[in-house]
Amino acid sequence: MSEKRDETILFLPGEIGERALRARLVAGEDAAYRDCYQQYAPKLMRLLTGILRNKARAEEVLQETFIAAFRGIARFRGEVGIATWLARIATNRAYNAIRDDSCVKRTAPPPEPEPVSRFEPQVEGRDLARKVMVILDRMDPAKKLALLLQAQGYTVAEIAEISAEPRGTILARLSRSRAELSLRMAEAGLATQAIPASMEDRS
């Protein structure tokens, strides 16, 4: 097994690695499907958990996403990166899932807080992240998606591809969303900057 792995190219950074992985997927190389999953699933899982706010549902959608992607690999022409392509499938399926849930009036369980170790060094950061997620939940879904994708490192062009909207629209939306999030964080006492005195007399 290890011998076989030595002969395949994996995780080469950037376009070259992506093209090679795509070529292997298109060729039907078994190992490529596992590699693809291992490479892209964590990032997608974070995105889906952010959108759906339900771990079990996110896992379901993640699996559906990869199965759909693998079955449709022949239609993927490589115009966008694999991560972008997968994110587009994942977000579409996540919103379908949300729509289905609301149609059957299924009450979504409240967001599951993950157990936090008392000795974890990142506790403060995670606490901030969870509070921000609560704020994002209250924002417009399109704005929330744009911010979640930005958080995961997608560029404006990639977010435009994923959302199937023009880049200009996405850029404007991101700017507005960032402004709104900043104000909401300030209101929630999450901003470290002191609120200027002039804030008191809002006109």
Partner: protein
């Protein structure tokens, strides 16, 4: 308020930095909301970075392994069928290739189509059965027969060497400036995104294009570049035959005193990747032509070059003639050096046709 929205759209985008636009600076002085939102942006970026770091436990791949294996199987099947079809239209040779692919699947050898990485300098051989491989930039190759070597590989260029055999290459769309090439002893086939086959026999190189366009640069600077489109094929005569043709026409031109034409053809001959002995002979012919036109100094240089290029131990009649002519030219141009030149002729060709002359001249000019 409209001002706020339009200005925020401009200055709250990710990566905008710290704008110094006076309009924006003035606005921040007067609008507390925008100032508050703007001051909080670093905190927004920090918070989003923390969101991206939230732990995500991913279900094991095994949960979808069955579906993935099914998709991979379908993909292999589809790939084989898709490849087979265009080949039916490109002649008997390629039809045999398609049949080979289908047969390979029928006898349950589909797993052998799994591509392997071809590292720079690595070589694969297809003896009896085809071999598949993949290059770092996603180019897929299938060697039907013979030997293939990845001669060089960089981010921009991947160069394959096919001394003899038949290879099918599937090149995805490449970034601008990137090329993939297959070199045979007769030609270089350069591509930017296509599917094609290269067949190198002992006589020539054949190129068959299935998709896209390829550029074929026959070996030798005097041969024109050919562009071959989908559905077309071309046969490029062997570089050896091309060189032999040039040699004959050069000799004929020299016989007729057409020195300019001869020198042009010698230039073309030297522009091919000829072996050292052939290059040496071409240099000697050029020297002969220059000498005939009275350009003795240049002729001497070329003769010396020819004799340097000729591997030690090779005794060729043209080389013996060249050595003697060099010595005679040196006698005329620089008599004091001629003894050494004759001595060199004797050393290299002690039993040559000019040995007696060399002995007497070496003694006479000493």
């Amino acid at each position: 308020m409209t001002d706020c929205l339009s200005l925020r759209e401009r200055y709250f985008a990710p990566g905008v930095g710290n704008p110094t636009d006076p309009e924006w600076v003035d606005h921040l002085q007067t609008c507390a909301q925008c100032r508050l939102a703007y001051q909080g942006l670093p905190e927004v970026d920090r918070a989003l970075a923390e969101v991206a770091r939230l732990p995500a436990s991913v279900p094991a791949f095994d949960t979808i392994a069955g579906a993935a294996a099914g998709a991979a199987r379908n993909q292999r099947r589809r790939r084989v069928v898709r490849r087979s079809v265009p080949f039916l239209y490109t002649g008997l040779g390629t039809a045999a290739l398609a049949a080979g692919l289908v047969a390979a699947v029928l006898i349950g050898r589909a797993h052998q189509l799994s591509p392997k990485l071809l590292a720079p300098g690595a070589e694969i051989q297809a003896t009896g059965e085809a071999r598949s491989a993949i290059l770092g930039n996603g180019v897929r190759i299938r060697l039907e027969a013979g030997t293939l070597k990845l001669a060089s590989a960089s981010k921009e260029t991947q160069s394959l060497l096919l001394p003899l055999g038949r290879v099918f290459v599937d090149v995805p769309k490449l970034p601008p400036g990137s090329t993939v090439s297959v070199r045979t002893p007769d030609a270089e086939v350069r591509v930017h995104g296509t599917r094609f086959a290269v067949i190198r026999t002992s006589k020539d190189t054949q190129v068959q294009v299935v998709e896209g366009v390829v550029e074929v640069r026959p070996e030798g600077i005097g041969r024109s570049v050919q562009t071959i489109r989908a559905g077309e094929s071309a046969t490029i005569g062997s570089a050896e035959a091309y060189r032999e043709g040039l040699r004959h026409s050069t000799l004929a031109a020299l016989d007729h005193g057409e020195f300019a034409a001869a020198e042009k053809q010698i230039g073309q001959l030297l522009g091919t990747s000829a072996e050292a002995g052939q290059q040496a002979e071409a240099q000697a012919l050029l020297a002969w032509s220059l000498s005939a036109r009275g350009k003795r100094t240049e002729a001497i240089q070329r003769y010396r070059q020819a004799l340097t290029l000729l591997p030690e131990g090779q005794r060729r009649l043209w080389a013996e003639n060249a050595c003697a002519e060099l010595a005679i030219l040196v006698e005329q141009e620089s008599p004091k050096d001629s003894a050494l030149t004759w001595a060199e002729c004797l050393r290299r060709f002690p039993d040559g046709v000019h040995a007696a002359l060399a002995r007497s001249r070496a003694h006479f000019t000493r």
